[in-house]
């Protein structure tokens, strides 16, 4: 039980970190796109494909998180 709880804690920590990092990258990218699409289209051109890639990555991370939570349904989130 204790090992499972530790496993869940560690796994959750890693996933939360990854999701937060992706969200941060997306938030920053969207802010730059919003502010720069007129004045700096070259930069936006560079950022857009990376943004799409990041959205896919986030999608996967969110799925992983959901699956992980299902793996330990009786254990609490800390």
């Amino acid at each position: 039980m204790l090992n499972s709880q530790n496993e869940k804690d560690l796994g959750t920590q890693v996933l939360v970190h990854d999701i937060n990092s992706s969200l941060s990258a997306l938030q920053g990218a969207l802010e730059v796109i919003k502010d720069e699409w007129r004045s700096n289209p070259e930069l936006v051109e560079k950022i857009l494909p990376l943004t799409l890639e990041k959205i896919n990555q986030l999608h996967l991370q969110l799925n992983n998180y959901r699956n992980f939570q299902h793996k330990f349904p009786l254990l609490k989130n800390r």
Partner: protein, 449 residues
């Protein structure tokens, strides 16, 4: 466009995050990027960065912590970026020397806040130097007091300045306002009220304002000083003379940040910073029941005590040189004059020194002697008023005392810049006594004329 003087380092392994952050920081300074620990350490070794943004998790978990430690050794203002929510990790980052921790995801606004904090930290030393320069002081205990001001600038807590008359309390309050505006980057109001200058009945309407018809003579509405000070500084000079009844009302207004102008049923919101000054001992006034303790605890926050000039004699030469250069005519002091100046107690402090030099600059002679000074400095100084039995015999006791009274009143009025209320309070005399002595003084002066 401002020249790019700041050297900024971004350490981030995620390309998208790095690009976005770089595009924000490009406007502020010269940005260098690293995507791994090795790359970052190499850049740090060969460059001196002012500011660094470091992602904690690079090619391995928490690899960024070593970079934070290295940057801290090189005195770089380091901000950690991380999606980790574990408090132990945050604590560890601070222990390694990071100055700020930005939790991912973060917004543009939180990035702007980081820059505000960075600016205030960087300007801290400059602010202290400015304060030392305007006070022309190297006195270590006065510098310590000025350091309090430097800390006070970042917050909104009240400031209480104490010190004898002429030590520069009003000057400091105005400078605090100037520095506050510099830190915030905006222009704010500075509202100055000398509580000793106006009568008790007027203070209330001046502070809180009034509605038309609130009292006889209120022909139109008037904004109070509290309202005008919104967003800025309300400077209450000679706060010890604030009537007790007004202290209670003002205390409520400060606590609630709102108040009712006289005759109004609508409350007015005002968020100001209170700066107060006094030459009196407020704690002893509280003991005597002349000042409210709760009001005192509300007006104190950052307490600054300005030293008298006689207690910072090492600054005297610097001050003399400054005031001489400030005037239109250069004068020099011979050795005897220098001795007199250094031995004199300067009861009127820096203000008295400035005025003395102003007077000396209007004289014919460019070389000031001890004699020139003795005429000026001995003028109306209480320590020089000696009991002279022969004089008493000559004039009679009544006339002698009348002379003494008029001399003291003249000195008090001069010291208080003709403020009647303050003079009454200082001398602890009634209105009747004040005007009786004043009549004697006028009569004496017209006799002389």
């Amino acid at each position: 466009m401002k020249p790019k003087t700041l050297k900024i380092l971004i350490v981030e392994d995620d390309l998208l995050s790095r690009l976005s952050l770089k595009s924000r920081l490009d406007y502020i300074g010269e940005v260098r990027e690293a995507s791994s620990k090795e790359e970052a350490l190499l850049l740090i070794e060969n460059n001196q960065f002012d500011l660094a943004f470091v992602d904690l998790d690079l090619e391995s978990q928490l690899a960024g912590l070593d970079i934070v430690a290295r940057l801290s050794e090189k005195k770089t203002y380091t901000v950690v970026l991380s999606g980790r929510e574990d408090e132990r990790v945050i604590e560890n980052a601070y222990l390694q020397g990071c100055r700020d921790y930005l939790s991912k995801p973060f917004t543009k606004t939180s990035l702007e806040l980081i820059f505000k904090k960075y600016n205030s930290v960087i300007n801290k030393n400059k602010t202290l130097q400015k304060l030392k320069d305007i006070f022309l002081t190297d006195d270590s205990s006065l510098v310590k007091e000025l350091e309090i001001i430097e800390q006070a600038l970042l917050g909104q807590r009240p400031i209480l300045i104490t010190g004898e008359s002429g030590t520069g309390k009003t000057f400091l309050a105005k400078f605090i306002h100037q520095l506050s505006d510099e830190v915030s980057g905006k222009k704010s109001a500075f509202v100055h009220l000398n509580c000793a200058e106006i009568s008790e009945s007027l203070i209330e309407s001046e502070l809180f304002g009034y509605e038309k018809g609130a009292f006889t003579g209120a022909q139109k509405s008037k904004k109070g000083m509290l309202e005008i000070a919104d967003g800025g500084i309300l400077f209450l000079d000679e706060i010890a003379t604030m009537p007790i009844s007004i202290q209670k009302k003002l205390l409520k207004a400060i606590e609630e940040k709102s108040f009712f102008p006289l005759g109004s049923e609508k409350s007015v919101h005002s968020d100001f910073r209170l700066v107060s000054a006094t030459h009196e001992n407020l704690k002893s006034k509280i003991e005597k029941g002349e000042f409210r303790a709760d009001f005192f605890f509300r007006i104190e926050g950052f307490n600054v005590m300005l030293k008298s000039l006689r207690d910072r004699k090492q600054d005297l030469n610097k001050l003399i040189q400054f005031f001489v250069k400030k005037g239109e005519r250069l004068i020099v002091f011979d050795s005897s004059a220098k001795i007199v100046m250094s031995e004199y107690l300067w009861p009127g402090n820096v203000r008295e020194l400035e005025r003395t030099i102003e007077v000396l600059q209007t004289r014919d002679r460019g070389i000031v002697t001890a004699g020139d000074l003795q005429i000026l400095l001995s003028k109306g100084i209480p320590s020089n008023v000696k009991f002279d039995l022969e004089e008493v015999k000559r004039l009679g006791l009544k006339s002698y005392i009348e002379n003494l009274e008029t001399n003291i009143l003249k000195l008090a009025l001069e010291t208080n810049e003709d403020k009647v209320r303050k003079t009454l309070l200082d001398l602890k005399i009634s209105n009747n006594s004040f005007y009786r002595i004043l009549d004697n003084l006028k009569a004496r002066e017209s006799e002389r004329a």
